[in-house]
């Protein structure tokens, strides 16, 4: 049975985000010949729509109104409701982002249906949509089906593969109304991001945890990242370390922080609680450095060093510098 899919897309610097492209790809796999519509809102949305067709979209609903640039859920909800009317979706997909976290439950409520959050797996099981998501802080996985329609799901970044781009593909476009009223007023916005390479883009992530013992421990972690290369490695932190104020929350890797999928993830003095692993288990290779040989992190790591990071990191930094 064909399934009409509506993807709530997001823009970054005038282009669809990589997660939007992944969601459109997932949508086109699940559509089974149904339409794959995408909404894009904010400055440059109409122009950005062209990039969604090769990724699998068949329709794009856009508004260039710059009032959508900052997410206000009342405004976005009204716009997505308009697109909903045009797309008659059986499935609505959003990113597990600032947008999806708030919009998915609200949209589901208004259509007497349910939203499944932070899904990592979407499957068609003989015509029934089944979604799988981590629960109990990542200790377990739960698979759900929907008793109501449409199904609404938010999806974890990088959990879905984009499709092979369809060169020259095009699709229908339609304009959504300009932004209306919002009850919550945005008063200020403060960007707190590490300079240079961003966590999600880095091919190597070096993270520190509570086992560092003090904020000073991050100096060695940063040195290790710098030795690998400022253009290659970014520094992350566990929730425990961020909650202690040792590192900015914007660098938190984990269930309530960022999800990273680098080629190499180096966990320094991190025990490997499920909560943390939820943010890094998609890494190609994990290296663990921990003084506790029983630490959970060694179960997910490919290589490990059992030892005090203060003794291990300086020679490791030297060896990496020598190898480059």
């Amino acid at each position: 049975m064909p399934r009409n899919v509506l993807v709530v897309g997001e823009l970054s610097e005038g282009a669809p985000t990589s997660t939007t492209i992944e969601l459109v790809g997932a949508g086109s796999r699940l559509a089974g010949g149904g339409t794959v519509a995408v909404t894009l809102l904010g400055n440059g949305a109409a122009a950005a729509a062209a990039a969604t067709f090769p990724a699998g979209a068949t329709k794009a609903f856009t508004s260039d109104d710059a009032n959508y640039d900052q997410f206000r859920s009342d405004q976005w909800l009204a716009a997505v409701e308009s697109a909903f009317g045009l797309a008659s979706p059986d499935l609505v997909l959003m990113a597990q982002s600032l947008v999806g976290r708030e919009l998915a439950p609200r949209l589901a409520f208004r259509h007497n249906t349910a939203a499944a959050m932070d899904c990592v797996h979407l499957a068609d099981d003989g015509g029934t949509l089944k979604v799988t998501r981590p629960v109990y802080g990542g200790n377990a996985l739960a698979t759900f089906s929907f008793a109501t329609s449409p199904a609404v799901a938010t999806v974890r970044a990088k959990s879905q593969d984009p499709i092979e781009p369809k060169a020259g593909a095009s699709g229908e476009t339609a304009e959504l109304p300009a932004a209306g009223e919002a009850r919550a007023a945005i008063i200020g916005r403060e960007k707190v991001e590490a300079e240079g390479l961003q966590l999600q883009d880095a091919p190597v992530v070096v993270s520190g945890g509570r086992g560092l013992g003090s904020p000073d421990g991050f100096k060695l972690v940063e040195e290790l990242a710098a030795a690998i290369g400022k253009d290659k490695a970014a520094v992350g932190a566990s929730r425990a370390a961020c909650d202690l104020g040792w590192y900015p929350p914007s660098q938190q890797v984990g269930l309530t922080g960022k999800v990273v999928t680098p080629d190499l993830y180096i966990a320094v003095a991190i025990s490997g609680a499920s909560q943390h692993m939820a943010g890094c288990s998609g890494s190609k290779t994990i290296i663990a450095i921990n003084k506790d040989p029983e630490a959970n992190i060694f179960k997910s790591a490919r290589f490990g060093i059992v030892g005090d990071y203060r003794q291990v990191l300086p020679p490791l930094i030297a060896a990496i510098k020598a190898a480059r």
Binding site: R101, P105, R110, Y136, T143, A184, A185, I187, R189, K299
Partner: protein, 267 residues
């Protein structure tokens, strides 16, 4: 003012992975022996946020409500010990095995029954099912605005000024009263009740409401009303054990690791 805190009792998230077990027939977590359930961490922080507002504003009542088993009294008592004034337990077999939608339906009915409410504080998500939806759905039921994932909340000119955690920084928003605010761990640690407060809380009465008291249709809540059907709950297989560097000294282990990484073309 009247502030409501929604509190949930959950299996202790600090349960070691070796003690975390699932009954595959029932699709349920088997309670770990000797590990008592706890107040969901984020809900304790939500209570802290409400109590700080109360202390600053004065003349404010804080009511804590919890939907759950009889044992959820403990979660309620903990928030009462922190300084909340009244507790309500929503305990009915009809409420069990629901989903975020049915939970929010029950909680919203209870909030309406409480009468005048200026704000509802929830944790950003419960640390068991991690949905992160109930606060938002309560707001939809009440037709109130919502501000999620707060790291700071202050009352200012009759509005809540909320500092929110975003992926790349912070955002300050003003939401009018009444509204729902969900609170994140960046807010800070909840207070630790003093022994005297714990004893006082033990004497505070906790009201108990069932589906009939709330006027909710038993078929619309719990398992009967759930829109999400749990098909399978399972523990993912771990890949196994790391290859541990076995050279004598940390320096040699570091060199050994770099050699391995070069051989595997990772570095």
């Amino acid at each position: 003012m009247h502030l409501v805190v929604c509190a949930k009792q959950i299996p202790d998230p600090e349960t070691p992975p070796s003690a975390f077990k699932i009954d595959p027939q029932k699709n349920e977590v088997i309670p770990a022996p000797g590990i008592a359930p706890v107040l969901s961490q984020f809900d304790g922080i939500a209570a802290e946020a409400a109590l700080r507002i109360k202390e600053k504003a004065g003349d404010t009542k804080v009511t804590v409500i919890s939907m759950g088993a009889e044992s959820a009294q403990q979660a309620i008592k903990q928030v009462l010990a922190m300084g909340a004034d009244e507790g309500v337990l929503l305990n009915d077999p009809a409420f069990e095995k629901g989903d975020p939608h049915t939970t929010a339906t029950v909680l919203a009915a209870a909030i309406k029954k409480l009468g005048h409410v200026d704000a509802v504080f929830c944790g950003r998500q419960a640390a068991d099912w991690d949905w992160g939806e109930v606060g938002i759905l309560i707001a939809e039921h009440m037709n109130w605005p919502v501000a999620i994932i707060a790291k700071g909340v202050e009352l200012q000119d009759g509005k809540f000024r909320v500092q929110r955690v975003l992926e790349d920084g912070f955002q300050t928003v003003d939401v009018p009263m009444p509204s729902v605010i969900t609170v994140s761990n960046e807010f800070g640690e909840p207070r630790y009740p003093k022994l005297q407060q714990i004893m006082q809380a033990a004497r505070k009465t906790v009201t108990s409401w069932k589906s009939g008291d709330l006027g909710v249709d038993a078929g619309a809540v719990g398992a009967a009303g759930a829109r999400l059907k749990l098909e399978r709950l399972y523990i993912p297989e771990k890949e196994g054990k790391a290859e541990i560097m076995d050279a004598e000294t940390p320096a040699d282990q570091a060199k050994q690791l770099v050699e391995k990484l070069k051989a595997a073309k990772i570095l």
